[in-house]
Amino acid sequence: MAEDKILLEVKDLKKYFPVKGVKGPGVQAVEGVSLFIRKGETLGLVGESGCGKTTLGRTILRLHEPTSGKIVYDGTTIFEGEDPWQRDGDGHMTKRRVPKPKSVDMLPYRRKMQIIFQDPSASLDPRMTVGEIIGEALDIHKLYGSKAERADRIRELLAMVGLNTEHANRYPHEFSGGQQQRVGIARALAVKPEFIVCDEPISALDVSIQSQVVNMLEDMQEELGLTYLFIAHDLSVVRHISDRIGVMYLGSLVELAESYELNRHPLHPYTKTLLSAVPVPDPEVSRRRQRIVLEGDIPSPMDPPHGCRFHTRCPYATELCGREAPAFREVEPGHWAACHLLNK
């Protein structure tokens, strides 16, 4: 499935959202993430709400303009900028002048990079028919020669996602949640993209519908050779669909590995906790297994802890963890993690 060719590469990507009336960088939603995605691969991204996984997905597509870092898509740098925020020894941040970031016109890249949103009812315009929603993407990128060709393409897309071709004249509210999500997928596929960010595409759906959509996404990938960044908080689904998985905590990647490897040999304490917290639909297993229960809640990304961002909740934290942020490094071949405990 996955080839060796790297389709997308992200280096030290940061996204801060300024907050009115607050000095400093504001909400540090994405804090220095580096990763790459191979062509034809599915990279899963998990983490709790507020960990920045959705922001990362959108920043990669430049739906949010990155604060700094580098994004390379298929050999072309689509964004490169220096970090204006400088951190001194005690974690205090000051802004300095940096050259204007280099970026490209995104329109041609919008054709190649698409997104499927979490809530299908909120991401489809209620006043447009399904045909218009899908057709709009074709119009913008001028992907047809004649009206008949446009109509054919819309019908073809609807059939591809398992909807009836007559559905083109209906409005989104006439569909169930699962069908709406299929429309969202057809819209993303309309421009024949290579890379799709799937942002929690199934969490709003009923259990019995979730697996239908997961299977459909897998089929599309096979047929069209798509590359996915699959974002979700449900680790069991991500583990199922992904080739590799990245685990995020408070804006940073803490671990990244091949998906079965991550499940069998999690290295980072947070990954271990996350794995042990996922309920397993098997009473025997739930009675048997030992669970690591974390104390407390995620700290605010407006004022993240100094040093390792996880140290305030980590059961193994030492004095070093509060002082210095661990580097995200390749601990074993293909298995990255950021934890001081692994450096011994």
Partner: protein, 351 residues
């Protein structure tokens, strides 16, 4: 007799069930017609038992619970059946009796704590109000003391300060703890939890589940746990009722439901879920089709249009319950067929 958390002994009715629901029917009379949200369900719950109700959205799992609490919203109405709580007929309660019953004997916690807590009152005030509503004689100091004990019990630190804070100053997980504290403050014998962990993150969900298991052991209360997450059910429930389109299609002890499911819908649900501990990749087997339109439910078995083993009779008549084991039963014509086959075999041997 168990001692509960503040030393009050739990009274259990001699020999009686805590809750018995028989052939309960709930309908909504909408302009588009009658929607039979709950179409005749029966179950019982013992003291100290945890029952899970599993179902998709629109399966009637919440409406069923609301009718126990007398919280059905217009145009919803209980149109048939009975609800018996420790031998008393809940549906015959007067408004006043219902108010007493609610909170002191049965409490409910909801999916979204923010919509259930009043944003303009402090958490302490709301806990004290809950207590005073059921015990007029209690002094404010005594009530405040009890409220703080409850908050400590549900794992909230720094209670003196927390009592004076407003709901928005709590995180999602902490708010759910406050909800649980408020639900349990009058020592109910039955707690109805309507998707209490659905809105929470997995690590917080794990915290709340551990807390509920722990409190359940201490207080021996009965719990009805409504959820769509089979993983959560496996973790916390003793028995399970699986609902589909307003009916219980299968019910039984938790192990039977997971290891020996009798209804194709239960089997389908179990098969369609990816597991985090799976050893290798296996393609998911989804349940095809879409949930039932409750305004126009199919004749016969409601699951028949989506069932891969659907037979002619399934489309015409509702299947009866077939006993599959101790307390384990399923409503499916396939199981009726098994039973007839079995009987024939026995008759053949003896005849």
């Amino acid at each position: 007799m168990d001692r509960n958390m503040t030393g009050k002994t739990v009274q259990s009715a001699p020999g009686g069930k805590l809750l018995e629901v028989k052939d309960l029917r709930v309908s909504f009379f909408t302009p588009a017609g009658e929607v039979k949200a709950v179409g005749g369900i029966s179950y019982d719950l013992d003291h100290g038992e945890v029952m899970g109700i599993v179902g998709e959205s629109g399966s009637g799992k919440s409406q069923e619970a609301y009718s126990i609490m007398g919280l059905l919203q217009s145009p919803g109405k209980v149109v048939g059946g009975s609800i018996t709580f420790e031998g008393r007929d809940v549906l015959a309660f007067s408004e006043e009796e219902m108010t007493q019953f609610r909170g002191s004997e049965v409490a409910m916690i909801f999916q979204n704590p923010m919509t259930c807590l009043n944003p303009v009152y402090t958490v302490g005030d709301q806990l004290i109000e809950a207590l005073k509503a059921h015990d007029k004689s209690i002094s404010r100091e005594a009530a405040a003391k009890r409220a703080m004990e409850m908050l400590e019990l549900v794992g909230i630190n720094n209670v003196r300060k927390r009592m004076k804070q407003y709901p928005h100053e709590f995180s999602g997980g902490m708010r759910q703890r406050v909800m649980i504290a408020m639900g349990l403050i009058c020592h109910p014998k039955l707690l109805i939890a309507d998707e209490p962990t659905t809105a929470l993150d997995v690590t917080i969900q794990a915290q709340i589940l551990e807390l509920m298991k722990d409190l359940q052991k201490k207080t021996r209360m009965g719990i009805i746990f409504i959820t769509h997450n089979l993983g959560v059910v496996a973790e916390i429930c003793d028995k399970v009722s699986v609902m589909y389109a307003g009916r219980i299609v299968e019910q039984g002890p938790v192990d039977d439901i997971f290891y020996r499911p009798g209804h194709p819908y239960t089997m389908g649900l179990l098969r369609s879920m990816p597991r985090v501990d799976a050893e290798s990749y296996e393609r998911l087997i989804p349940i095809e089709g879409t949930p039932v339109d409750m305004l126009d439910p199919p004749e016969g078995c409601p699951f028949a249009p989506r069932c891969e083993k659907c037979m002619k009779i399934c489309l015409k008549r509702m299947p009866p319950y077939v006993e599959l084991g101790d307390g384990h039963r399923a409503a499916c014509w396939l199981r009726v067929e098994d039973q007839i086959g079995q009987k024939r075999e026995e008759d053949g041997i003896h005849g």
